[in-house]
Symmetry: C2
Amino acid sequence: MAEYSIGLDLGGTNLRAAAITRSGEMLGIRKGKTAFAEGRDAIVGDMVEAIRELRDEHGAADLSGIGVVVPGFIELKNGVIRSSNNLTSLENFPLRDALSQQLGAPVILENDANAAALGEKWIGAGRTVDDLILITLGTGIGGGIIAGGKILTGYMGMAGEVGHISIDPMGNPCGCGNRGCVEKHASATAVSAMARLMLGQAYTSKEVYDMAMGGNERAKVIFEVMGESLGRLLAMLINAFNFPLYLLSGGPLDAWDLFAPAMLAEVHKRSVTARLTDTKIAKAELGNQAGLFGAAYLPWVK
Amino acid sequence: MAEYSIGLDLGGTNLRAAAITRSGEMLGIRKGKTAFAEGRDAIVGDMVEAIRELRDEHGAADLSGIGVVVPGFIELKNGVIRSSNNLTSLENFPLRDALSQQLGAPVILENDANAAALGEKWIGAGRTVDDLILITLGTGIGGGIIAGGKILTGYMGMAGEVGHISIDPMGNPCGCGNRGCVEKHASATAVSAMARLMLGQAYTSKEVYDMAMGGNERAKVIFEVMGESLGRLLAMLINAFNFPLYLLSGGPLDAWDLFAPAMLAEVHKRSVTARLTDTKIAKAELGNQAGLFGAAYLPWVK
């Protein structure tokens, strides 16, 4: 049998676990709903069961390790979720140690966006580089940083959480206390908020996309503004990190052709580093499986 | 004899080299002017001579390695200075290999701001952490990033060159093509430019400092604005990196009491990460010797 590891990605709605070989081949997968309503023990029980089934099926002898990724801020030292929008019942609970104890094996716990960046580095759009930043676009904006092939975690796993970087000191006020947070100007939520102002109704970002594709000029402008805002964020990151690769992922990527030209023009204008060095901005490749692959890769990179 | 290394810091005006032990004790130092006018061979000759003298004096047997730091952008792979404001005669010349050949020993070449950050991490204000960012204030603004105890170089050693990060998309235009570059709002040059607008004359930052200390309200406001701009930069960096420590160095540090309150208030307002995690912003400790110490430390960390 080939050496493999088990990755588990616990999302707000779904739980997925997979056995994956060192070369990225998925040997088996378990999928389920996240059992919110039934509380902490049920969720932990589901996680343990999914991992145990995969281990039983593929053998403990060839198992390199277990990686588990969850949304939210994680205290890496002690493996505790400190805050999470979706998994409040797991907050301040020693999740890593509980899983490890029930499985009788070490478990590595990591933030989902960090893991997604690692997955892209391993077998996705970042497989040819050692340094990259992944920016995840959705209702908010998050991200993960890979430096020297490893996750840059920062003090508490919050490195790469770029959504609250301000791209305009006088921009939209944000609940975090800042103004001009990029997720207030370039997330799906921001697209919807701009639609309310410019199209008279808070259409979903998908609806605004359809209107833009249908020729609505104002809808097109909304995506240009979104691209400009992302370009400002990227210029900052490029100037700070000088990495060779910046990846974008998430639902709003469908609108790439609508926002990317403005984004790239803004980067070109605002980053001398981007102009002087070989800097690539591209789509991520693994979609919503990036975190799952990253989780599985954790035992091999830590 | 104790294990030691030799560090050399080649600045725009001065050349300094020192033999330093593993515990940070300086065994000997050589100082001289940078022989600009006499061209490349003379500069390289001076560097080789300073290093050779120290090696002869302290013995080749205990020498761990040689680190050389220079201003400008360095292609680390091949040890070539690609661009430098002050050392144009050394641009596109294989400096590292030339030094190495003439000395008959390997030489590590690094950017001076990166080395300064490393020096602070080794025996300066950052000695208790593994992750820090150093921001150097002067006529421009530069910096260096230490991640996991090592220099984060990025693609071409340009990581940490934070001076061209925009803190206001509509701010002052910069020669780099961007607007609102932090060095256009918070460097000594920016203080002087604000003085021209607010005090009727482009006083030096030292003069503005003296006026502020003498009670001039407008001069005080200039430092508040400088602090605010630095605070915006720091909030971005803290949100991106989540490191435990951010250090400031350079001449304008004398005005700390004038700009730091506004800077720290801005960080507090704009960075939820700073509010949630133990984030320290402090003065660097090694002054203009940080680069020299960092140069000497290079052989032990690479």
